[in-house]
Symmetry: C2
Subunit: 508 residues, 2 copies
């Protein structure tokens, strides 16, 4: 990867002075074209060796272009907020919206490479990080982002010469610390690891651009000109909304038997029994939620279901057992303008709860494979790849300790009709029923098919779906509460008991 | 993944008898449309549980369609031939050409899953296999193949019932062996592993289709109808030759300094010195090539270079030191019709040498990022992704023990002119110079750029490029021979010495 960058490139001062004014004017122009078009975000990754001009280049790009439309992010050691969420959370948080440029100095490559060089991780863990990165960048480019990755390189000889030169000058001597020489001692190891990572992540859709960092003029013009060309090329492309599907279509059961119609929706729970169970389960849930070990875990609950299936009422029976300071309900409606300017999963990443907290999603990221699929709000290729993206998201959550539960509340078409009619009659419920609800009913079969595909393709060991028979509200609420309690108990059992106050280990 | 497939689907005999004749007629029609169009190959993977109807379905597909245009492959334990090459070799070997259907019963999923269930491999190794598979399937679909993956499933209850039923009948009792019950004891482990693998490999471009295998009618109609729909959908799509590039373009040194023009082409070797060195190095190479430890290794040499750079003469100096029974020279010209009907890398996979042998490629898979890129013979997106595909190929080679060496023979534009003119004058060399050679010269700079990108992006620790200054043929030949000898020595040093005949370990 670094062969060309070790040749010792140079641009003389005169050439630079001649080129620079034109280049910065062009960059400013193209930046405004980008903003005007508002079609795609630009993600620029700045990586490489210390002293190879990473910081200088970032400052220069901000000086050349309009810094109001550039978001520059450095990622030092994760904050408390960040550590309490999956590692990728802080990067999602910082993604630029369409039309803007986000510069990431230090990014998803930094920690994996540094940890490996330090010996804190093994090759296997590095390769796991590489897989995560590949999935993230694939998703970003599939969602239309232009991802540009610059690696600033210095040969070992140049790195040494740089440090020695700084040390020789009394005015710059302070800039060289023992840490710099310690880093230099790791040069070979660092470059070897970097080469491995760069090779594995130099994909057709997001290749690395290696820049020789030894000469300032050369490196500045290189990045400037390349960025200009990249933006111009992409802006000149016609927008292609209909990504091509090359996959075989999904299959559906020919005998009409599916996960939904196989449910026994006749299941009921009498009022007295319901009230007794409700009290007992809410008590149990309350105790579980206050277990001190839950401080290290988060809970992510997803409620999806047919219109009028009783999601709201069920959620209230759950939250009644919880401390309001510990949970957030996230209602998901049509995306806002801010959200539409981001990759699809962005608006869910922003609501990922930190450790010790619960997030209850009233509708969720599954919209893409349900309503967006059925109503044609996204291209087939987009919802086809969404299953893998969703599984990846939920795996990241659970790898970081989140307990993920997903409920589909199912009612029959007749029951829905009854409830819709009721809502129209009841004044305070009338806001709950719209023309759209009636229209969605016409596509009942397509929705059913989409639900079955969703469950088959995203029910996993760490994030299973629970299908809830909800024609009887009592039955549904109790099933949800019981599932929740049992899952939390299972998860707690897997954790080590905390020592009690007297210093003894508590009973499991 | 298996939720829907455990519902117990059924199609009654009457329905089946009614549907089947129409379906098979349609399948036969679409098979001929596929053949006629000759635009893409169809790769059907058949996986799943024993007894779930894998074999029956394959037979049925062959009965329904014209078996002359279906290639069915089973992959039992690898043969000696196959074991001596990277694991993916035998699958590459079996890929169907455009217009044909290849059915793979047992395939790249079989061994990784079985090995993990048996405890022969760890999760890490399984995930490494999954990565290999993802890259292979991505490449296949990028190259236009329609990849359809069927997983035949049986619930634990159904599996048990099936075995008991077979045992209860005296006529079928023989079909159930202890092995079947041993497998059944592993059911949970097997299904858990499969679920993990299916989830990770159910991509947007090649999703898994899970089929309930418990009812023969249901399963047959399901696969038949799905296959029909998949073929029809794909055939109805317009061919889109210009895949869209979403990546930023590559960057090139602004100061005009690159790996090629940085070479000192003036280096020379006087005749006497050359002859002395040649004899010495050829002797050394001969000894190395006869080292018994080389029986476990293969050698892959790639010779690329400017036209008239002297590849042929250099290759002859190498082979002169080798036993002709141990090497093959593979000259790569324009692809044959057979080769054009396959993914790009296919024609190179077929020449992968087995252990103990050497393959010398006179031009190679680098054509895609050289001539095809410069002459526009393939789309930009295709050569952009080729770097990753090539690195993946060479990594598979070296992981399997191949020693990979790559030489670029560089001459100056003036030297080339001289040699072209000479060739035109020398009668027996005239066949070596064509109009095309003169035309290629016009694109000298573009070729130079492509060579530099190639070296930067594909020179790896296990498969490095050696740039050879070849204006002086003597110098070039000696550099190649010396590089080759040194590399073989390094590789042999890394291997354990074989015990000598007296049973003592030899000196390293």
């Amino acid at each position: 990867m670094f062969e060309s960058a070790e040749l010792g490139h140079k641009i003389d001062k005169k050439t630079y002075r001649k080129e620079e004014p034109k280049l910065r004017a062009d960059l400013l122009d193209v930046q405004y074209d980008l903003k005007e078009a508002g079609r795609f975000p630009v993600v620029i990754l700045i990586n490489g060796l210390d002293g190879a001009g990473k910081g200088e280049t970032v400052n220069l790009l901000n000086a050349w272009m309009d810094p109001r439309h550039i978001e520059t992010h450095a990622f030092p050691a994760p904050s408390e907020e960040e550590r309490q969420r999956p590692p990728m959370w802080r990067f999602w948080h910082a993604l630029p919206p369409k039309g803007k440029i986000g510069i990431f100095v230090g990014n998803w490559y930094t920690d994996p490479i540094v940890a490996k060089v330090r010996g804190a991780t093994k090759r296997v863990e590095l390769d796991q990080s590489v897989d995560d990165i590949l999935r993230l960048e694939k998703m970003l480019t599939d969602e239309g982002a232009l991802v540009i990755k610059y690696w600033f390189h210095l040969s070992k000889k140049n790195q040494k010469a740089r440090l020695e030169k700084l040390e020789a000058n009394p005015k710059t001597r302070w800039r060289v610390t023992k840490h710099d020489w310690d880093l230099f001692a790791q040069y070979d190891k660092y470059v070897k690891t970097a080469r491995h990572v760069l090779r594995l992540t130099s994909s057709g859709h997001a290749p690395w651009i290696v820049v020789d960092g030894s000469d300032e003029n050369f490196r500045s013009l290189t990045v400037g000109r390349h960025l200009l060309q990249a933006l111009r090329t992409r802006l000149a492309q016609k927008e292609d909304k209909t990504s091509r599907v090359t996959a075989a279509p999904l299959a559906h059961a020919l005998d009409g038997r599916d996960l939904i119609n196989a449910l026994d929706l006749g299941q009921k729970l009498a009022k007295a029994k319901y009230e007794e169970e409700l009290e007992r389960l809410q008590g149990r849930l309350n105790v579980l939620s206050r277990d001190p070990r839950m401080k290290a875990r988060s809970v992510v609950m997803v409620f999806e279901g047919n219109d009028a299936a009783g999601k709201g009422g069920t959620v209230r029976r759950v939250t009644a057992a919880l401390d309001a300071r510990n949970f957030t309900i996230v209602p998901i409606a049509a995306p806002t303008e801010e959200e539409r300017a981001q990759p699809y999963m962005w608006r869910f990443w922003r609501h990922v709860p930190k450790q010790g907290r619960m997030a209850i999603f009233d509708r969720s990221w599954y919209g893409r494979v349900l309503v967006e699929r059925v109503e044609g709000f996204c291209a087939e290729a987009d919802w086809m790849r969404a299953y893998a993206e969703i599984n990846d998201f939920e795996e990241q959550l659970s790898r970081h300790g989140a307990i993920v539960l997903k409920f589909w509340l199912a009612i029959s078409k007749e029951e829905q009709y009854k409830r819709f009619k009721e809502r129209e009659k009841t004044r305070f419920k009338r806001f709950k029923i719209t023309e759209e609800d009636w229209r969605n009913r016409d596509k009942w079969d397509q929705y059913e098919m989409a639900v079955c595909d969703m469950v088959d393709r995203t029910s996993t060991g760490h994030a299973p779906w629970t299908l809830v028979e909800a024609n009887d509200k009592n039955f549904a609420r109790i099933k949800v509460l019981r599932t929740l309690c049992e899952r939390l108990e299972t998860e707690l059992k897997r954790m080590k008991p905390l020592p009690d106050k007297a210093g003894k280990a508590g009973k499991d």
